[in-house]
Chain length 461, copies 2
């Protein structure tokens, strides 16, 4: 698109100015505008994200890279001239993928075909000889029941229910399919399956397998679980239709090691009037071991630290203390969130609100909130101040995984909501890299959280 004729450009400008001037110029909206301007004209957070992604990279909890990320985040905060930087120690699992996985279809009809897979997080490995068996495709756990032990015993179950691409909110689509990944292995094992292959959780058809956490149910045998890229899921399904006797060989090399010490990293600005009352904002620094943990959730960490930078650089002195928490271990066992809650409880700290960014650095669309009706109404009133920045939504009933334990101690939870359209292109896969993050989109998220914290600081929640 061009504005080739200056007349049109001027017209266009007038239109925008007219539309914009309807926005009341209250003090709050002026401060918020300053916050957005400062965020949109600064590269520090974006450059830091690049460092985290490119110089440290993937950082699954317990890995040396996770330790590096924690050390780097601590130094970043220490170099910011803020009032307090410290860590909260915790133990994390240590699961490692080991050597790259291997998977091969053998069909008397079609020949052989390698499939692109990855082990699911915290799955057991197949052992050095791998597993080899016929495959049964199912869509859900009911299908397992219908098939029964007789048919399933000794087989490998292929969960192939796609995310529902018709849903506007892709998290809803994810929610409708993630049970296969999360508990598919144990559900299949109940009927005697010896392994599971799960269709990757993305609406794209591509060559990238998406990992993610899975859990074994106590009392059922542990069997290996892998994700297959959607392109190969389609192929596998097609082959199975003509050749139900098709066999698959899977070898994964993941294993557990002893738990490792790690920590949350915390940075604080002291409040001028209520130094013992905190507004908290955070993201998680651990990521999956594929990709670079850019959208999930390097962005959230960098946005949270950026909130402090924005307050400092604009000379906004908050009445309440502002606390950034860089959480560890969101992806695996959520120990960071639990630890922080335990310490808040132990120290009997007053947290006015806990805000989390873990939906990726996409265009912010609004906030989600898990709090009392009164607080929800307040946020719904405030959202009007964000409409000129494209945010219209207040969704009720959720904050974020890391802050969720704080609900137990009655702390209001708020999540930054962003456009979900591109999120599952990348999540938990090798595609979650720095180049997928747009600087402006990410910084709009930083600004939105800083502006919200400014309002909470001014008026309480």
């Amino acid at each position: 698109m061009m504005n080739s004729i200056i007349k049109k450009t001027i017209l266009f400008l007038i239109i925008i100015v007219l539309n914009t001037s309807l926005f009341s110029q209250t003090t709050d909206s002026i401060v918020i505008k300053k916050i957005y301007s400062a965020a949109l004209t600064n590269d520090i957070a974006y450059n830091n994200l690049e460092y985290l992604c490119k110089k440290i990279g993937a950082r699954i909890a317990g890995s040396p890279q996770a330790a590096a990320a924690v050390e780097w985040a601590k130094q970043l905060l220490q170099n910011m001239d803020i009032d307090n930087v410290y860590t909260e120690e915790l133990w994390v699992h240590r699961w490692d993928r080991g050597e790259k996985e291997y998977c091969k279809l053998v069909s008397p009809l079609f020949g052989t075909q390698e499939l692109t897979i990855c082990a699911l997080g915290e799955s057991i490995g197949t052992g050095p000889t791998g597993i080899n068996a016929e495959i049964i495709e199912v869509k859900n756990f009911d299908d397992l029941k219908k098939l029964g032990k007789k048919k399933i015993k000794g087989k490998i179950i292929f969960f192939n229910r796609p995310m529902d691409a018709t849903l506007f909110n892709t998290f809803e689509a994810y929610g409708g399919a993630v049970d296969q990944r999360f508990s598919g292995a144990s559900e299949a094992a109940k009927y005697g399956a010896i392994g599971v292959i799960v269709r990757s959780l993305t609406t794209n058809i591509d060559e990238f397998p998406h990992t993610g956490i899975m859990r074994y149910t106590e009392g059922t045998p542990k069997i290996p679980a892998v994700a297959v890229c959607t392109k190969d899921a389609e192929l596998l399904s097609q082959w199975l239709q003509s050749d139900p006797k098709l066999k698959v060989y899977i070898k994964t090399n993941c294993q557990f090691y002893p738990e490792v010490k790690s920590c949350n990293v915390i940075g604080e600005i002291k409040g001028s009037k209520y130094p013992d009352e905190f507004i908290m904002v955070g993201g998680h620094i651990d990521s999956w071991d594929l990709g670079e943990g850019a959208q999930d959730d390097g962005v959230g960490c960098m946005q949270s630290i950026e909130v402090l930078r924005l307050f400092k650089s604009l000379g906004i002195k908050p009445k309440h203390s502002i606390r950034v928490v860089i959480f560890m271990d969101e992806e695996i066992a959520q120990r960071g969130g639990q630890k922080h809650k335990d310490l808040v409880e132990l120290k009997n700290e007053k947290i006015i609100a806990a805000i989390e960014s873990d939906g990726g650095g996409f265009i912010p669309t609004g906030f989600s909130i898990d709090a009392s009706e009164e607080k929800i109404l307040k946020l719904k009133e405030w959202i009007k101040l964000f409409e000129n920045y494209g945010m219209h939504q207040v969704d009720v009933g959720w904050g974020g995984v890391d802050i969720d334990p704080l609900k137990e101690v009655n702390i209001p939870l708020i999540g930054l909501e962003t456009s979900s359209q591109r999120y599952f292109d990348y999540q938990h896969s090798a595609k979650d890299t720095f180049d997928k993050v747009n600087k402006r989109e990410m910084q709009l998220g930083s600004a939105a959280m800083a502006a919200l914290i400014y309002l909470i600081d001014q008026y309480g929640l």
Copy 2:
């Protein structure tokens, strides 16, 4: 982000379902949901865009590639089993960049440095010997006035006013800077400048020069005009501060050729009740000669054709005829838009509404409208049906470049509005390639236009 604990996933699902159920299930909303579902689960438009970008590529008006694109679009429509496919012939300019441009700084202080530039669209070339002169940096046309003829004569003017990154809507930022590109050359020539270098219109600092149309004012000497990538604009500005005697050598090889015949391509579905009344939707098939014309505006063309496919595949038989116009020559002289309007006028056709998509295949945020107050109010009422798909905005006073001439004959104009955050990363540069288009974001735009056309067809505008 993960939903590691199934409890949370279920909670999350419930929240979404609750929020969604507030949306009244009218017939319209059911049809609209069907349209979105069909758009989000089909790859045809996206695959066609890939073909256009990768097999035809850049297609500046008058080029062989533009002719190929026109032929391809016609065949695409002919193969769709619709009622009418035809073309509207027109003549277009034929400007060609020629061999790659060359630009070198020579500083007694810093040495020499090559700059990455591109000629602006419809600039004259420098001739085979190039131009070589001292540089004066200015921010705007007032600066030229202040400097005056004496200082400017024989120099090269460097327009270096950046787009204002603090503005949420990047089109507003573009509108505030595009005068330098559009008329900078003639403004500088009035004072005796022999050439202009214009900072590329993007908020990024990178190595990609962005071209775009420029115009010479009648009665002023024509001088060569180029865009410099923002990274080199910054460097040039820095060098100039220490070394105002710095010289630049520029060689561009662009030239004009005789005008060429080209055409708009039109496809129509006949209305069941009012076959002589049209709802029009379109985009432009010509692009700049750098990149692949993906976001600008291959997307708009593919979305418009997708509207027909959606109506056909869902069995929605419109009462009014639906016309897709694949416009030629939006970027250079807007002859396609003019020609279509001339023919509408000549044939005395009734067009109920003309809709254009030329803001890129990003997340739709709303519609702009240039029509009577009554029609604006209708659209503002309808926008509620789009809120569940992230669209909240109705901006008044603009439709689109290609449809703009139709205003003269009192046709209501509507533009699809999309998130502008990433648009100027790509516009008119080598970065405007297929991989920058997200399928879901693009298809949400197709669905939004199809849904709007459905409403206009049902209720009139």
